[in-house]
Every structure is written in C-alpha cells, then in structure tokens.
C-alpha cells in the first residue's frame, strides 16, 4: 500500500454507482408527479444526496484528512449564505412600501424601451 493512501474497494465503488443511477431514476419519476411546492425541495434533496455520495466516496473525502472536508463545508455554507441573504431581499421587496415588487408593463417585447408614466 503506497504510504497510507486508502484504496477504495471495487465493491464500494460499484455500489455507490448503482445508488447514483437509482437516485437518478427516482428524481425523474418524482418530477413527473406534480407535488406543487414540494417539487423543488424534493429534487434538491435527491440531488444533494447524490452529490454527498460522490463527494464522500468517489472523491474519497471520507478517508481524507479533515481540512479538506472543512474546506468543502465552508464552500457550501457560503453558497447558502449568498442564496439566503439575496432571497431575503428579492422575496420581501416592497414589504414596507419602499419599493414595489411589480414591474411596470413588464412585457419586454413592448416596443418602447422606456416605460410610459401612467
């Protein structure tokens, strides 16, 4: 064994590959059923679990030293921070009447570039 590098057994690799294919089939099937608001979280959950499988087994993060794991976790945390705080703005715009969320005559294909005042 080359000085301590963990060799992932073939069985684990093929099991993970099978799981990934299975999850892909699941996500395709569940997407056909219209669950309304639940669709997005479900799709993200399945994609998330597939990603975790790839990161921990295929990319061998499970057998790696902790600093790499910390780096990945930090990266994901900051993606979530970016998403949540941006949505905190876009979702609640106009909550206080400071700006109106509605777009004036939003149809971009209307010929004029400026928006006519009412």
């Amino acid at each position: 064994m080359a000085h301590g590098h963990h060799i992932i057994p073939l069985r684990t690799l093929s099991m993970v590959f099978g799981a990934l294919l299975f999850l892909t089939v699941i996500t395709v099937i569940t997407a056909q059923i219209d669950l309304g608001l639940l669709n997005i979280p479900l799709a993200l959950a399945i994609a998330g679990s597939k990603a975790i499988l790839v990161v921990f087994v295929f990319m061998a993060l499970k057998y790696d030293n902790r600093v790499n794991l910390l780096t990945v976790v930090l990266g994901v945390v900051f993606v979530v921070v970016f998403l949540v705080l941006t949505l905190a703005d876009t979702e609640f715009r106009g909550s206080l009447g400071i700006t109106e969320p509605a777009i004036i005559e939003a149809s971009p294909e209307s010929s004029d570039t400026g928006s006519r005042m009412p």
Partner: protein, 311 residues
C-alpha cells in the same frame, strides 16, 4: 434660502430630520470619546514606555481577561443601542403616513420631472408645507437617486419599478434636490428644487400651471422645453452644454461628425428630436435620450420646433 446650518449638518426642514440629527450627534459624540480615548492612551503609552536603551528587555505582560472582556462587551452594548435606534427610525423614514399627498416623479438622464394628480407637469417639486408628501418615483433610463439633504431622505430611482420616499416639510422655503447615483455625463448637473407653499398658495399654483390649450404653439413649446428636460442640455443663451444651444439654431447650417452638413430647417429639427442618433453635430457626443418619439405627441414636437424657430 436662510439656512441655519450647523457645522456638520444642513438645517432640519422635515419632521424626521430632527430625529436623524440627534442619532447622528449621539454616534458622533460616542465616536469622538472612543477616538480621543484610543489616541491619548496610545500617545501616553508611546511616551511613558519609550525605549531607554537599545538592549531593553521588558518583562512579558500577559493580558488580563477582565480588560479584554470589557472592550468586547462595552462596544457590543453601544453598537446594539445604536442599531435599535437606527432601525426604529428607519421604519419611520420608510413607511409613508396613509394620508400623504402623492406626486409622481420621473428621473431621466440629467433632469427630473414631477407629475401631479391633476396633470400638471413641472421640473420643480412644489409641495404644501406641514403635510406628508409621498413620491412615487421611476426612471426612464439608468438608476438615479432622489436626495434632498435638508429633509434627510434619499432613495434610488430604478427603471421599470416604482420606489417611494416620503417627507413632511416643516418650513416654507426652496430646498435643493440632487441626484446621488452616478448616471452619466452630467450627473453633477441633475438638480431640481423643492418649493414648499402654504396650503392655499399651493392650490393656486396647481391651478395656474394647468396645461390649457389657449397657448400658442411656441408658448406650449416653451413649457415643453422645461418639462421634457431639454433645458438640461440645450441653453437659450448660446453657451454650449451637453447639447448645442438653441440660440440662432433654426436656419443655420449644421456640420455633422460624419462630415456631411445640412441646413437646420423644420424637418431637421423634427428628426433630431425624434431620432437624435442619426446626425450628431460636430463637437458633441451621442448622449441625447431617444425616447421622445414615444413620450411626446406629434403636436407637442411641433410646438417645440415652433419654439426653437423663435430662438
């Protein structure tokens, strides 16, 4: 314009301005205290513990936890107080009282125009004093920002969206409006005025400025010259600004950047209003907004051409 400015702030001419100033002074005073404390300690230590000889080796000093904790807790408390105070005042600034008088504001490249419910359009904001006024603002091109220093209010004006700002003037006077979001060539000339009247003066003003059709085309053209913002770039006294002056324009031969030239007849004036980018006069840039073809009706354009012919 009798302004009693303090050395720091312009005079407070709106209801919320007073509260903003008190909060400003509170933070200013606390900051000065902290600043003087830090700098005087620094200077005192630098002098008191100055090096006596090159091979000084003072005994190590290890920080004590109490002092360390004190300068974490005290700033946290102060900062929390300032945040809550600012937050509550921000809500006051943001939410307009229900009975406010509403005026529509249009910002465009380098001029403001204010549209009143009864159809009056003016380039200066005339409002009743001691009554909340809510402005519904939107821009025709880039982001501008509506700022009245004396009222302590500011809000960016976005294209395609309405943004709101409100104030209640407490004095009859004229106040300056400036644009504080960079918007291009003459961003620094995009001024307007807020003129506050008593209630009945305001009503008279509204009636006077109603657009009646008894005016001759040239007179209507003159009104349009200010309302549509031509005044922002074209002067009447011959001085060139962002655009050529209207003085003696009609009938003169204009040579263009592409080397061609033409006599400034009615047709040329009309096309240069409707499609300014077609021919650019020598020595000027292609910065004239192009939406007049849409925002002005053809008789308004004729009135404007008539007015230009008279210059």
């Amino acid at each position: 314009m009798n302004q009693q400015n303090s050395i720091w702030l312009p005079e407070a001419a709106s209801t919320i301005a007073g509260d903003v100033d008190t909060l400003f002074y509170f933070i200013l005073v606390t900051s000065v205290i902290f600043f003087v404390g830090v700098v005087s300690t620094m200077v005192f230590f630098a002098w008191r513990f100055r090096r006596r000889s090159p091979d000084d080796r003072p005994k190590p000093v290890y920080e004590n936890k109490l002092v360390e904790a004190s300068w974490i807790v005290i700033p946290s408390i102060l900062v929390a107080v300032v945040f809550v105070w600012g937050f509550r005042l921000f809500l006051e600034i943001g939410i307009a009282p229900p009975n406010s008088y509403e005026v529509n504001v249009t910002a465009r490249k380098w001029s403001w125009s204010f549209t009143y419910p009864n159809g009056v359009i003016s380039t200066d904001l005339h409002v009743p004093v001691n009554r909340p006024v809510k402005l519904r603002m939107s821009s025709e091109d880039v982001i501008h920002s509506f700022f009245v220093p004396s009222f302590r209010i500011k809000a960016d004006v976005l294209q395609g969206r309405y943004s709101y700002v409100w104030f209640e003037a407490t004095r009859q006077d004229t106040f300056l409006i400036a644009c504080t979001e960079y918007c291009g060539t003459s961003h620094s000339n995009m001024y307007a005025r807020v003129v506050t009247h008593s209630q009945d003066d305001f009503e008279n003003w509204l009636v006077e400025n109603l657009p009646d059709d008894s005016l001759t085309p040239a007179q209507r053209g003159e009104l349009l010259y200010t309302q549509q913002g031509c005044i922002g770039c074209h002067s009447l006294d011959g001085t060139a600004a962002a655009g050529p002056s209207f003085l003696g324009l009609a009938g003169s031969t204009r040579n263009f950047t592409d080397g061609t030239s033409a006599v400034a007849d009615d047709n040329y004036l009309r096309t240069s209003i409707v499609n300014p980018a077609l021919q650019i006069v020598e020595g000027y840039l292609n910065v004239m907004p192009g939406q007049y073809a849409v925002t002005m009706s053809s008789e308004e354009i004729d009135a404007l051409v008539a007015f230009i012919n008279e210059q």
